[in-house]
C-alpha cells in the first residue's frame, strides 16, 4: 500500500513536472540558502580555528581591563615585576613574554615602510612557536641593556631590502638606528586579517625607552607546557594578579586572562550571528515555499475531485485518501529539499573555492534540511489532503 501510494505520488508529480518544479522553488531556495550559508560558515570557522590553533593552543594572553579587542581601558598596565612574579610563582609555564608594541616607520636607504614594532623577549618566539630562518635571537645582554637590535618579518624584509641580505644592516625606526640580527620565518595572514610578517621585533627595553618612553607592559603572552591544564594556569595567574593589583574580594578583575578557545569563540560568534540571520531568511522562504505547496495541492485536489470520488466510491477510506495527498505533498517538498541541498552544496563549493575557505560538509545540517522539507510537506500538505479525504463521494463523482 505504501509503495502504491508513493508510486501514485510520483506519477502525479511527474505528470506536471514543470508545475511541480515551480511549486517547490521556494523550498529549493530556502534549503539551498541554509545549506550554502551553513557550509560556508563552517568553512570560515574551520579556517579561523585552524589559524588560531596554529598560534598554539597553549597560548594565554594577559591584558589589563575587561574588554576584548584593541580598546584601552583605565586599568593600569603591568610591570616587569609582574612578569617576574609570574615566572617565579606560576608552575607549568613554557614561556612568559611581556609585549609592548608601537607603530613606526622603518627606513632603510631610500625605502621606508610603516610597520609595527613589538618589544618583547625571546620567550615571545617560544610562545608563538616562531623560528628564525636566518641570524639569531636576542642575547641576554642585549635584552638587559635594551640594545637597538631587531628581528624583522618577511614583509618588512621584502619592502626594505628586496632581494638583498638584511643581516647586519641598520634600519631606522623613528630616531633609533637598529641592527638587523635575525629574519623571522613567514607566517602569512592571521585570522584577524593582519599580515603577521609585517613586523619588527626588538628587545622590550629598547622599545620602552627609545620608542615609547615608559616602562609599562600592556600585555603578557603566556605559553603553558604541553599537557598542562590551561584552565588551571589561568586560575593561578588570575589569583596572582588580583593579589598583586590589590583587588579586594568584592571587586571584579581589572585585567583579563584569555586563552585561544575563548578567542576562537569570540571570532566564531560573528559567524554564528550571521548564520542565524540567514537561517531566519531561509525560514521565511521555506514558509513561502510551504504555502506554494499548499496552494498547488489545493489546486490538485480540485482538479482531481472526480478521481477522489472514484476512489472513495470503490472503498477508499478517509485516511487512505489523506495519506495519498499527504505523501504527494511530502514527496514534492522532499524533491525541493533535495534540489536545494544539491544547489546549496554546489554554491558552497563554488564559494569555498573563491574565498579560499575549506569545504566543510556537515551531514547534520543536510539531514536537518531534509527533515525540514519533509516537515514543510506534512505541515502544508495536511490541509489540502484533509480536504480531499473529506469530499463527499457523490458530489465528487458529479464534479466536472
Amino acid at each position: 500500500m505504501i509503495w502504491e501510494t508513493l508510486r501514485l505520488a510520483l506519477q502525479a508529480i511527474l505528470r506536471n513536472a514543470l508545475r511541480s518544479f515551480l511549486t517547490v522553488l521556494g523550498v529549493v531556495i530556502g534549503v539551498g540558502a541554509v545549506i550554502a550559508m551553513v557550509t560556508i560558515g563552517n568553512g570560515t570557522t574551520a579556517k579561523v580555528e585552524s589559524e588560531i590553533s596554529a598560534l598554539g593552543t597553549n597560548l594565554l594572553f594577559l591584558r589589563p581591563g575587561q574588554g576584548f579587542g584593541p580598546t584601552r581601558s583605565d586599568a593600569p598596565d603591568f610591570t616587569s615585576r609582574d612578569v617576574a612574579a609570574i615566572q617565579e610563582q606560576i608552575g607549568g609555564l613554557l614561556a612568559v613574554a611581556p609585549v609592548v608594541s608601537a607603530a613606526a616607520t622603518a627606513i632603510y636607504g631610500n625605502e621606508n615602510w610603516n610597520t609595527t614594532v613589538t618589544g618583547t623577549t625571546n620567550a615571545f618566539l617560544v610562545a608563538r612557536d616562531w623560528t628564525l630562518t636566518e641570524g639569531r635571537s636576542f642575547l641576554e645582554g642585549e635584552l638587559r641593556s635594551g640594545k637597538a637590535v631587531c628581528l624583522i618579518g618577511q614583509t618588512v624584509r621584502q619592502e626594505l631590502f628586496g632581494r638583498a641580505d638584511p643581516l647586519g644592516a641598520r634600519i631606522r625606526l623613528k630616531n633609533v638606528s637598529c641592527e638587523v640580527i635575525g629574519l623571522l620565518e613567514a607566517k602569512g595572514q592571521s585570522s584577524f586579517g593582519q599580515d603577521q610578517d609585517d613586523t619588527v621585533i626588538m628587545p622590550i627595553r629598547a622599545v620602552q625607552r627609545r620608542l615609547i618612553g615608559d616602562t609599562d607592559i600592556p600585555s603578557i603572552y603566556l605559553s603553558a607546557q604541553d599537557g598542562v591544564d590551561t584552565a588551571k594556569v589561568k586560575r593561578d595567574v588570575t589569583l596572582l594578579m588580583r593579589e598583586r593589583r590589590h583587588i579586594s574580594a568584592r571587586e571584579d578583575d581589572d585585567f583579563q586572562v584569555r586563552d585561544m578557545a575563548e578567542i576562537v569563540q569570540t571570532m566564531t560568534a560573528t559567524t554564528t550571528v550571521l548564520t542565524g540571520l540567514l537561517g531566519a531568511v531561509a525560514a521565511v522562504s521555506l514558509l513561502v515555499g510551504g504555502i506554494g505547496i499548499m496552494n498547488i495541492m489545493l489546486v490538485s485536489v480540485t482538479e482531481r475531485t472526480r478521481e477522489i470520488g472514484i476512489r472513495l466510491a470503490i472503498g477508499a477510506q478517509e485516511r487512505q485518501v489523506l495519506l495519498q495527498f499527504l505523501v504527494e505533498a511530502v514527496v514534492l517538498s522532499l524533491f525541493g529539499g533535495l534540489i536545494g541541498i544539491a544547489l546549496g552544496l554546489g554554491l558552497a563549493g563554488l564559494a569555498s573555492g573563491l574565498l579560499g575557505v575549506p569545504f566543510v560538509l556537515e551531514p547534520g545540517i543536510v539531514a536537518l534540511a531534509f527533515a525540514f522539507s519533509a516537515a514543510v510537506g506534512v505541515g502544508f500538505g495536511f490541509f489540502p489532503a484533509r480536504r480531499a479525504a473529506r469530499l463527499d463521494p457523490i458530489e465528487a463523482l458529479r464534479h466536472e
Binding site: 478521481e307 476512489r311 466510491a313 478517509e318
Partner: protein
C-alpha cells in the same frame, strides 16, 4: 407474506426510506417513504422520469449516502448507523459501481483501472494482476489491457468500468444509467454482459435506465415517481 416460513433476509432492504435535501420551505423530498427489498441474485431495473429519485435511491443502496429517515439494511446491517469509513469498507468488499460517465481514471491503463479496488483491499501485485486480467477477459477486453481510457471507445470504456466493478467479486453491482452514453448496439452489448454476469456468476444487479428495451433484460422493474415507488414487478407485467 404473513404466515409464510421465515424468509432469508434480503440482500438489500429499504424500510420507509425518506431522503430530503435542503430545509424548511426549500426542502426537497427526493425519496418519500420507499420500501424495497432485493434478494441476492436478482437483476432489477429502476425506471422513472427525471427527478423521480432513482439516483438518490442508488446512492443510498451503494452506501454512498444515508437515509434522512427510515432504515437501509444491507446484508441485515443497518447502514445508517455506520461511520463513513465503515461504509467505505462495505463498498470495498460487497459493492461494485458502474456509472453513466464510466468514471475511469484518465491516463491510467485499463489494467490499472481494474486493479484499483484491489489496491484498497491490500491485495499483492501478482494477485491483483491475475484478477484484473481475468475480469478484463470476462468483459471481452483481451488485448486492450494496456490501453488508456482515451484510447478506448465508449462501449469499451464501460466494459473496463464493469470489469472494475466485478473484479472484487462483489455481491451487488449498482449501475446508474450504464448505457446512457452509448448507442443502441453498444447498449445491448453492455446489457448482454450484465445479464450474463447475473446469470452465470450470480451477481445481484440493480440498474437505472430510461430505456424500456434495456430494462427488459432485467427480471424485475421498479418504477419511481416523485420519490415513491409507483410499480414493482416482473419484467412482463411492468412492461404491460
Amino acid at each position: 407474506m404473513a404466515g409464510a416460513a421465515p424468509q432469508p433476509s434480503p440482500l438489500i432492504e429499504l424500510r420507509q426510506v425518506t431522503r430530503t435535501y435542503g430545509r424548511g420551505s426549500a426542502e426537497v423530498r427526493a425519496l418519500d417513504g420507499v420500501d424495497l427489498a432485493i434478494a441476492a441474485g436478482e437483476f432489477v431495473a429502476i425506471m422513472g422520469p427525471s427527478g423521480s429519485g432513482k439516483s438518490t435511491a442508488m446512492n443510498i443502496l451503494g452506501c454512498l449516502d444515508t437515509p434522512s429517515r427510515g432504515a437501509y439494511l444491507f446484508k441485515g446491517v443497518e447502514v445508517g448507523s455506520l461511520t463513513r469509513d465503515q461504509r467505505a469498507l462495505l463498498r470495498r468488499h460487497f459493492i461494485g459501481f458502474v456509472f453513466q460517465g464510466f468514471n475511469l481514471l484518465a491516463r491510467t491503463s485499463a489494467l490499472e483501472n481494474v486493479e484499483l479496488p484491489l489496491i484498497y483491499r491490500g491485495a499483492p501485485l501478482g494477485e491483483r494482476r491475475a484478477l484484473a486480467l481475468e475480469a478484463l477477459a470476462k468483459v471481452g477486453l483481451q488485448g486492450r489491457e494496456l490501453h488508456q481510457p482515451s484510447e478506448l471507445s465508449g462501449g469499451q470504456q464501460q466494459r473496463v468500468a464493469i470489469a472494475r466493478a466485478i473484479v472484487t467479486r462483489p455481491d451487488v453491482v449498482l449501475a446508474d444509467e450504464p448505457t446512457g452514453n452509448l448507442d443502441t448496439a453498444r447498449s445491448r452489448e453492455i446489457m448482454e454482459l450484465l445479464a450474463e454476469l447475473n446469470r452465470r456468476d450470480g451477481i445481484t444487479i440493480v440498474m437505472v435506465t430510461h430505456e424500456q428495451e434495456m430494462a427488459a433484460y432485467a427480471g424485475r422493474i421498479v418504477r419511481f415517481l416523485d420519490g415513491r415507488i409507483e410499480s414493482d414487478g416482473p419484467e412482463k407485467e411492468a412492461a404491460q
